[in-house]
């Protein structure tokens, strides 16, 4: 039931071909893994007769009804580094630091479905061993039970589409919702077949889902799952619509994977990460945004292994700028949309004389959503950067659950991960509020707003803090939602 394969390099993954029966599509699987998994993987444990809940959901509702016979169980491949060995007689995994350290040497798993075509099922692979994976990836910890060991793997879920009963859009929805169910305990788990049903008002039955989904169906899936999807479409009447892409990266940086549609390809993917371009000293005046500093996005595409690095333009078969609509499955209570933040952020320079901002034409703006508690946690961990009065204000303000954070950095600060100033915007603000802020601060000054009274009376609804110089070159940029990839 268990077979261990030792590898000298990832090219040896072709050995899988000899170990798996044809219904698992071994040749295609071996080629795909050999081409996309790094040489850090030195051992593969094949777990046969594995009962996979996602495959079973499609088996009970589709494959079992067919004339062709399909197996009910799957094969699962587990990836380990070179320190782990397998005792085939004792069915025991060994590593030098003991069984409790196995997780540190585990790179995840790939389930293979017995469907002959598109056999790669539910998979959680560490970005650390995915060749070319981007620098920052949205991830969650997934628990894995294997041979009585409890292992954990941090990654983003992926699978091939089934082709006959699910298409790319189902796979993208499934990936995002499986991430949510592992990352946030308020969301339940949805199986592959659940997703195909949630897309429609009634059960379309049989092969109907394979005829494709409309973007509205994906939106419906996220609504049914208990999220509050926001659907943003590129305005093709504006050249390149940079605001669309600035919002896209803002949500990704906030830790929300995106359901992204590429109309001209008729394709959907999940956007799960990004990499900054190398910091450059342009010395060219002009305000820039975080999007302008992005080199590539990371896609989970059901036609490929996860974490596909996709350049902003000029890529094959697609580029990030082929995305022309996305859905972000937000929690409730984010009422102030990214469109509003995108327009508000440059207007905040009008407060520059009071707060002390860098010159607008030398600033890089970055904005994202976080929770009030995550903001406090971030500040608490770096309290030496903050004047005690400012720290006390940040800890005291009665934020709603979510806030938008706008960071302002000079080019030099950007290069070293620092920011000059921050604005904290109430994510529950209304579109027509002229002062939707909780706080805006630099190193020298802060403006604090009383959200109860500021709209009615600006004078009594705000106060200023004069801050003492804490002697640093900028506050640490707030990067905590995505996992940095540690390439192995």
């Amino acid at each position: 039931m268990y077979t261990w394969i030792s590898l000298n390099s990832s090219a040896d993954l072709t050995k899988l071909e000899a170990e798996l029966s044809s219904e698992f599509g071994p040749a295609r699987v071996a080629k795909k893994l050999a081409g996309g998994i790094s040489n850090a993987v030195k051992g593969v444990l094949i777990e046969r007769n594995y009962v996979d809940k996602d495959y079973r959901s499609t088996y009970y509702n589709f494959y079992a009804k067919k004339g062709q016979h399909y197996r009910a169980d799957c094969v699962r491949l587990h990836f380990f580094d070179g320190t782990v060995t397998f005792d085939e007689k004792a069915l025991k995994l060994n590593c030098p630091e003991g069984a409790k350290a196995l997780t540190d040497h585990y790179f995840g798993f790939v389930v293979l479905r017995p469907t002959g075509i598109a056999t790669i099922g539910r998979s959680i692979v560490s970005p650390d061993v995915r060749s070319g994976a981007s620098r920052y990836i949205i991830s969650a910890k997934h628990k894995v039970h294997l041979l009585g060991y409890k292992l954990f793997i941090e990654g983003f879920p992926s699978m091939d589409q089934h082709i006959d009963i699910s298409v790319c859009a189902h796979a993208a929805c499934w990936s995002i919702l499986r991430h949510y169910s592992e990352r946030y305990n308020i969301y339940r788990e949805f199986l592959t077949h659940d997703i195909t049903l949630m897309a429609h008002q009634f059960d379309p039955g049989g092969l109907i889902p394979s005829k494709g989904l409309e973007v509205s169906h994906a939106e419906r899936v996220f609504q049914e799952a208990g999220t509050f999807p926001v659907h943003v479409t590129r305005d093709n009447s504006k050249p390149k619509d940079p605001s669309f892409y600035r919002q896209l990266i803002a949500y990704v940086e906030s830790g929300f994977p995106l359901f992204a549609a590429m109309h001209k390809h008729g394709h959907a993917v999940a956007v799960v990460g990004y990499a900054w371009r190398k910091a450059v000293n342009t010395a060219i005046p002009g305000m820039r945004y975080a999007w302008d500093e992005i080199e590539e996005l990371s896609f989970v595409d059901d036609n490929q292994l996860p974490y596909v690095p996709v350049p902003i333009k000029g890529g094959t078969p697609y580029s990030a700028d082929d995305i022309d609509a996305f859905i972000v499955a937000l929690p409730e209570k984010v009422f102030y949309p990214a469109d509003a933040v995108d327009r508000l952020a440059p207007a905040l320079f009008k407060l520059g004389a009071v707060v002390g901002l860098p010159p607008q034409d030398q600033t890089i703006i970055r904005y994202f959503i976080t929770t009030g508690s995550a903001l406090r946690h971030f500040v608490r961990e770096r309290e030496s950067e903050f004047d005690p009065k400012l720290l006390a204000a940040i800890m005291t303000l009665p934020y709603a659950q979510f806030v938008w954070v706008v960071e302002f950095a000079t080019e030099a600060q950007w290069a070293v991960g620092k920011v000059a100033a921050r604005a904290i915007i109430d994510a529950t603000a209304s579109l027509r509020e002229f002062m939707p802020l909780w706080l805006m601060h630099s190193q020298s000054d802060a403006l604090v707003f009383n959200r109860l009274t500021v709209s009615a009376d600006l004078g009594s609804g705000m106060g200023a803090l004069k801050l003492t110089d804490t002697g640093h070159g900028g506050f640490t940029r707030m990067e905590q939602n995505l996992r940095p990839t540690r390439t192995k």
Binding site: V232, D324, L431, R451
Partner: protein, 61 residues
């Protein structure tokens, strides 16, 4: 204690706050009221209309 009083106290409990002359923010307030807010309302409405069109795009690759 009513909610208004409680929220007011939170703001007043922040030490070191000094009053700000609202005139210092007059430029910002004017820009928000005359330009930014109307643009935000317009762009949000436009995005809704664009989303309505893209809802019918077929995805099947």
């Amino acid at each position: 204690m009513d909610k208004g009083k409680k929220e007011g106290d939170v703001f007043e409990s922040i030490e070191g706050l000094t009053p700000v002359d609202p005139k210092a923010l007059a430029d910002f307030q004017r820009e928000m009221n005359e330009q930014v807010i109307p643009e935000i309302v317009k762009v949000v409405q436009e995005r809704r209309m664009l989303a309505a069109e893209s809802r019918h795009w077929q995805l099947k690759c």
